[in-house]
Symmetry: C2
């Protein structure tokens, strides 16, 4: 089965093998060593001298954790939204009592620097900015380096959902001045879902010290004090730690520059492949993501039927739309090669031919 | 290695084997079937016609979820506390803004019915009661059947931490009138940590409809509406679902009455075994837990050294104290037989002999 959704992604065989290891004491020496080793490696990939905490939960859990640990009810937050996940970050901040302004951009486009600058100028009381680095729903990667420079020009607190970008798309956390950077195990990290990661700058810890939103399970201070002992405050999803230790070793062997270059190649293969079939891309190519590609559903095509044919006849799992966009999506992150994507494009061609949507090989 | 802590517990080989299965689409048919099958089985073990939700997180996560979904800031809560986990439930309710009264009982004793009755009589404004069915820190099982009758006599909302009891110690949720009943995958269910379960009565759903504490990741309504489609609102810890499907099948084959009887036998084996070495039990035997036994650290013994000798020389992992109690603990729940516990007692005897604490075989 060629599983090509934007997470969970397939796992390498060595990673799956690690998952079958028997349980150990999560407050014992062996777990402590795994925890310390993983944390050190994650910090390398985050390119941060700050902290990277490991939480048991999904990426959305880490978004809630980021909000509840660094904000107080009534805090003014500017949420940059150009898709489902940008809206989700805003929803969470609102649910926990922040005063959220949503700065919306056209779906499929990147957030515009000038508009963000204007919004920050217009309201000096804004304290924090949330942004989705890679918007999985539309296949857009926002220009975080430039956006961060704008946000930092106004000295605002910057929270980044990098759930589907960290480890696959360039994001040096410290160099780009990000305060909170989120990721999830089932994305670029090539392990099953169950863990989320939170990178925190010193400024983030200062925010934690003042923040008054309620948190217990997600409490960053408890996570940090426990991590220093090689533990987690609550019982962690132990097997995903086993898996992560193996996958981070594989990633270190490949090296971050090579991993980023591979994602560039597979991203390009997905876009060029789709276009070679006469399909059109949802995202403006200037902002095209190298981890997920959203393809416009051709006129008259029942997308559910297309995805079912791909699954049942061509062993290929693609993702449906997450939102109102009339698209289907190819995930190409983590354990993925250009060959995997070529197979997706071949399957897509055959499925579209069987549906009578395209008539000849290209 | 004989891992005998109160979770994570060892997993049967078939369960570990299931953990290595490749990832699938968590919004696809196959996952939906697993989800529906697991949910139906969990309801059988919970003995409820209500709902059982599956959340990705630890047992503590489910406690936070229970609080945030059913209470509003300012709600008056009576927290029955006779150990670390009873206090934790109270801490969480307080953190989220409830007005908590802690009704404390001596550690190692069960909560007393008359005292609970008096507390409920004394303050009619109490809306909800939290209780730990099985207090893992002290090895006490509270008499939930009787306590629930008292609480229900006052028509209060009852939230039960059954994290280390459900599936191993008798707890028919509906028959005993419990509104929220929590459990965790790494306890009696014989699977790795990563999932938590929440049983909910109709009254619990009525509480959810009125509750104003903030929740997003843990939102029960989102979990329920997604579960009806065989999905979870956020990306779930997929491999633990694979494992749980296998373990629930094993549990169904054994049958709940046999499982409960086995836990009675291993509980007794742990207590009798400890006493046969001249050790004393922390918990009043009238309330002795069949899933965890806390043993008083003999005078003059360095408990860390004892646990290290057990681990390094006798391949036996026991748990240290969780709190101020001078104890160490044997977990005997889930994948456990009397033989496993006999081996623990043998190891304990040899370790204590090597430390000069006991001098002859018994």
């Amino acid at each position: 089965m060629n599983l090509r959704i934007p997470g969970p992604t397939p796992c390498p065989p060595q990673v799956l093998e690690a998952m079958r290891k028997q349980m150990i004491d999560h407050r014992g020496k062996e777990f402590g060593q795994i925890m310390l080793q993983i944390t050190a490696r994650l910090k390398e990939f985050y390119q941060t001298k700050g902290d990277v905490l490991i939480l048991t939960g999904s990426g959305t859990g880490s978004m809630e954790a980021a909000v509840a640990n660094t904000l107080s009810p009534g805090d003014k937050v500017l949420s940059i939204c150009n898709g489902t996940f940008g809206e989700r970050f805003a929803d969470i901040a609102e649910t926990f009592g922040a005063s959220v302004t949503r700065l919306r951009f056209e779906l499929g486009k990147g957030a515009e620097l000038a508009v963000v600058r204007k919004a920050l100028e217009a309201d000096p009381s804004i304290q924090a900015v949330t942004i989705t680095h890679n918007e999985t729903s539309t296949g857009v990667t926002n220009d975080l380096e430039s956006l961060s420079a704008v946000v930092k020009g106004f000295d605002k607190f910057l929270m980044v959902d990098a759930i589907s970008s960290m480890g696959c798309i360039k994001l040096p956390m410290d160099a780009w001045g990000c305060d909170v950077v989120l990721s999830g195990s089932q994305k670029g990290w090539m392990v099953p879902p169950g863990l989320a990661f939170v990178g925190l700058s010193q400024r983030a810890w200062d925010a934690v010290a003042k923040a008054k939103m309620p948190r217990f399970y997600w409490d960053f201070k408890k996570a940090k004090s426990n991590a220093e002992k090689g533990q987690t405050p609550w019982t962690p999803a132990v097997p995903i730690f086993y898996a992560l230790a193996v996958s981070l070793e594989l990633m270190a062997q490949e090296g971050l520059p090579n991993i980023l270059a591979r994602h560039e190649r597979v991203g390009k293969a997905a876009r060029e492949g789709a276009k070679s079939l006469g399909l059109t891309l949802f995202a403006d190519e200037r902002y095209a993501s190298n981890t997920v590609t959203a393809i416009n559903t051709p006129a008259g095509v029942d997308v559910d039927k297309l995805l079912a044919i791909l699954r049942d006849e061509y062993d290929t799992i693609l993702a449906s739309s997450r939102g109102e966009m009339e698209v289907f999506r190819i995930g190409h992150l983590g354990f993925v090669t250009e060959e995997d994507i070529e197979k997706v494009i071949e399957a897509l061609q055959l499925a579209l031919m069987s549906m009578g949507v395209i008539t000849c090989s290209t």
